[in-house]
């Protein structure tokens, strides 16, 4: 029976090709536009590290200018720490399971032979980084804790760099030249691209490539490797000290700090620890603002840093309204179409088809149009996402149609079409056959 309904639906669609094409087009455009904007929104607000996002916490201390506006939420506090605070926490016995203090920089890779040197992004960090953020290794392992303490010239490199320098072979134990020094490789990590790159969310770099070189933080400081991310200062540097020392002891914020806290109790204890640290610092004249320390897990951190922009939200709202227009459009067209079919329906009813049968038969036709609209919508969404990728810089990792979104698109299409068709189909199946037959 069902295949017969589908045949009938196709015949009916073929009978009014322009009107049917209009409906498929309208549904397709509405769904395509909405899916495009919603996919971007969904991926942006996605969890970059689902299995650990509730135990990894970004740390904020409010060391800013006491004359500045008061702090109301974590979004008002600098997202980074000073070197001195980060180092204190890193070396202290805190309630955290693991902590990491780090910053982004860049160095020039000088290959052996004639290949030209090139720039790579570098993350100056601690060996805890790799276990905290669950970074997958293909060869070797992170450097050990001693390397951090010894300021050792060791590095972990990414798969892409390993492919470029060593054709993808196991390079553990080998050394490469960075700037004017040599560094021994202890491990090679697999492609690892948290999206968004939550561990360092400087505006403009939120969706950029994760680093290909990881170097002990302690060594990077010895090298005077400057940060390539935001550096914010409010107080003048102490000009009685050499520049570098003055900078490291300054109130400038430029490093990221994360703590791994497994239970709410641990998180509360860690927050207390931070509060006490700031109270101690107030004694020696620092932190002259009211006490404001914040720890935010990964999901909270993305909200604090407004990773999903207002533009995304505006586009999702507008494209939803657009979809609504398309559905209204389809309802109107279906009304017109089914009223035009009254005669046919009357004949079917007179020949013994029940209301229910007529209802279901017409619903199949509507659903067919819905599926066609959904397929068109997916195609248009794919085109739309390609367009987004070209329009926005740095969205390459972000933009793709994932299975969840594909399934959503099809469901959305069929639901939209059925919602759009329900009333027209119901109307036509309620018509009394006799009156219409007379008119034929």
């Amino acid at each position: 029976m069902f295949s017969y309904y589908i045949r009938l639906a196709l015949t009916s669609i073929r009978r009014t090709p322009v009107l049917s094409a209009l409906m498929v087009l309208a549904l397709g455009l509405g769904i395509g536009a909405f899916m495009t904007t919603f996919t971007v929104y969904y991926l942006m607000s996605g969890d970059p590290i689902p299995h650990k996002s509730d135990v990894l916490y970004a740390v904020q201390l409010d060391n800013w200018d006491p004359n500045d506006d008061p702090t109301e939420s974590a979004s008002d506090v600098q997202p980074q720490l000073t070197y001195q605070d980060g180092q204190h926490l890193m070396n202290a016995d805190t309630p955290a399971i693991r902590q990491v203090h780090m910053y982004g920089s860049d160095m020039v890779v000088v290959p052996e032979g004639d290949d030209p040197p090139f720039n790579e992004n570098v993350r100056a960090t601690y060996q805890t980084f790799f276990s905290m953020f669950d970074v997958p290794f293909i060869y070797g392992s992170p450097w050990d804790k001693r390397a951090d303490d010894d300021h050792a010239s060791v590095i972990v490199i990414g798969r892409k760099l390993n492919d470029r320098l060593f054709n993808g072979e196991n390079s553990v134990g080998k050394s490469i030249q960075l700037n004017d020094g040599f560094y021994q490789i202890t491990g090679v990590i697999d492609d690892w691209q948290p999206t968004p790159r939550f561990y360092h969310v400087d505006a403009g770099r939120r969706f950029s490539d994760s680093e290909q070189i990881f170097l002990p933080f302690t060594r990077a400081i010895d090298l005077v490797l400057g940060p390539n991310g935001n550096t914010n200062c409010w107080a003048p540097l102490d000009d009685s000290l050499p520049v570098i020392e003055a900078f490291l002891k300054s109130e400038c914020v430029w490093t990221q700090f994360w703590a791994e806290l497994e239970t709410p109790e641990q998180a509360a204890a860690y927050k207390d620890y931070l509060d006490n640290y700031v109270r101690d610092q107030k004694q020696i004249g620092r932190f002259q603002r009211p006490l404001n320390t914040f720890i935010s897990n990964v999901r909270e951190w993305l909200v604090v840093n407004r990773v999903v922009t207002n533009d995304n939200r505006v586009l999702v709202r507008l494209s939803f309204l657009f979809l609504l227009v398309c559905v209204l459009n389809t309802v109107g067209l279906l009304m017109a179409k089914f009223l035009g079919k009254s005669g046919e329906v009357a004949v079917r009813r007179a020949m013994g088809a029940s209301r229910q049968a007529v209802f279901i038969q017409n619903l199949v036709e509507v659903a067919t149009i819905g599926v066609a609209g959904g397929v068109a919508g997916i195609g248009l969404a794919w085109l739309g996402l390609k367009g987004i990728e070209n329009l926005y810089r740095g969205y390459q990792h972000l933009v793709h149609l994932d299975p969840v979104m594909l399934a959503t698109a099809v469901c959305l299409a069929v639901i939209s079409a059925i919602l759009a068709g329900l009333y027209p189909v119901w109307r036509v199946s309620r018509q009394a056959p006799a009156g219409l037959l007379k008119a034929l």
Binding site: D65, N67, D106, N119, P236, V314, F322, V325, L328
Partner: protein, 405 residues
């Protein structure tokens, strides 16, 4: 207009169809006015002048990785070589470019007693005496730097500049009375780091296009040697930018102790900086075009069907003496009535949607004149869309009335 009565009564018999089109029109008005408003806001942002000779300017960033090289000397050699390239109008060292997103912000104090929250924030560009020309800035008062005013910031020695040239906007913020020239300002509170304003130039934007103080900028005569990054701004003779960029890149790449990281024309930088706004403009323009298209096609589709359904009625009217013009007018008036109802609802919708978008996402308030313009556009759209089916209706022969009776 005597037709309105019967047309209106016949519309009441098909309430749902009328409501559907009217709702579409209403939503279309709401979306189109808000989208058009956002487009115009973003376009205005993008169109703001940076102050530079945009189409003839390029930036070059190199990264020196050999710490044995004398970086200060390399700056001198580079600048001498770049200035000798044919087609180069001016070249200067800098540590930032306007609206590039990466720069240096500082605070100035116009008297030593000022608190830090009263200081004036500005974007700083560290250049030499060629900076004014390379950035295409016009001195409105005072003088340029002299070579002996240049200082060098490095890890070893922190020389601080004694003079600066400020933008008119910065001068006005520091000294609202308009007497900024030759005044002393301080780079730190409590009278630390005094500098003298030796010149005022017309206009240049800072590195951050969304900042409130985007027009407050200043040039200082200094070169900073922190890390190996070195940056140049080069302004070419009109039409010579491509050659100048190639020649400069070729020169910079000759030195094997560094890599050339970025060679970028200013227009390219601008489209990168504003990529989100450009994207928003393009996406919303697309929405407007497609939306009006869908709404227009919807009107055509429904009118077409209603013509088909009323063939006999139309034929009868024609047989009873209605002219073709009467039939066309009937559908036009019908559409005008429906559209007007939709627009009435849409007015509320447009204002409501804007209120929502503004309170939630800070898009700003749509100026009221957008509403009549949007309404006029949709009236026109409706009338144009209905024209085709109406003409088809007008072609129904009067003889139809006599058939199949």
């Amino acid at each position: 207009m005597k037709d309105i009565g019967p047309i209106f009564r016949s519309l009441l018999r098909n309430k749902l169809g009328v409501i559907l089109i009217a709702l579409q029109i209403a939503l279309t008005l709401a979306i189109v006015t808000n989208a058009a408003f956002i487009i115009s806001e973003r376009s205005a942002d993008i169109a703001r002048p940076s102050g530079l000779d945009e189409s003839n300017t390029a930036m070059f960033i190199t990264n020196l990785f050999d710490s044995n090289v004398d970086q200060r000397q390399l700056y001198r050699d580079d600048l001498e070589a770049i200035r000798a390239i044919p087609g180069v109008l001016a070249a200067a060292p800098t540590q930032s470019m306007p609206i590039s997103g990466s720069g240096w912000g500082e605070d100035l104090y116009s008297n030593p007693e000022m608190q830090s929250n009263e200081s004036v924030n500005f974007g700083k560009f560290m250049v030499d005496e060629h900076g004014l020309e390379a950035f295409d800035l016009e001195l409105v008062a005072g003088r340029n730097f002299t070579p002996d005013e240049m200082v060098t910031r490095s890890f070893e020695a922190m020389e601080l500049p004694k003079v600066l040239i400020v933008s008119q906007a910065l001068a006005d913020s520091l000294f609202p009375d308009g007497d900024a020239l030759n005044k002393t300002v301080w780079d730190e509170p409590n009278g630390e780091q005094p500098m003298q304003i030796i010149g005022i130039y017309d206009h240049m934007q800072n590195a951050w296009p969304t900042s409130e103080n985007v027009n407050r900028t200043a040039l200082t005569p200094e070169i900073s040697l922190f890390g190996g990054q070195m940056m140049y701004v080069v302004r070419a003779e009109p039409g010579q930018l491509d050659q100048v960029m190639q020649a400069t890149e070729a020169y910079l790449s000759k030195n094997r102790s560094r890599i050339v990281e970025i060679v970028r024309s200013y227009p390219e930088q601008k489209s990168r900086t504003y990529s989100r706004d450009i994207a928003m403009v393009k996406l919303l323009s697309g929405v407007i075009v497609i939306l009006t298209g869908v709404t227009g096609l919807g009107i055509i589709g429904l009118a077409w069907f209603s013509v088909t359904q009323r063939r006999k009625q139309i034929g009868t009217r024609r047989a009873l003496g209605a002219t073709r013009g009467d039939i066309v007018r009937y559908f036009m008036v019908e559409n005008w009535l429906i559209t007007s109802a939709g627009l009435a609802v849409g007015l509320v919708g447009a204002v409501g949607l804007n209120w929502f978008l503004d309170t939630q996402y800070e898009v700003g308030r749509v100026p009221l004149w957008y509403l009549p313009v949007g309404m006029a556009a949709l009236w026109l759209l409706g009338q144009l869309a209905v024209l085709l089916p109406a003409r088809r209706a007008a072609n129904i022969p009067p003889a139809l009335a006599t058939r199949s009776v």
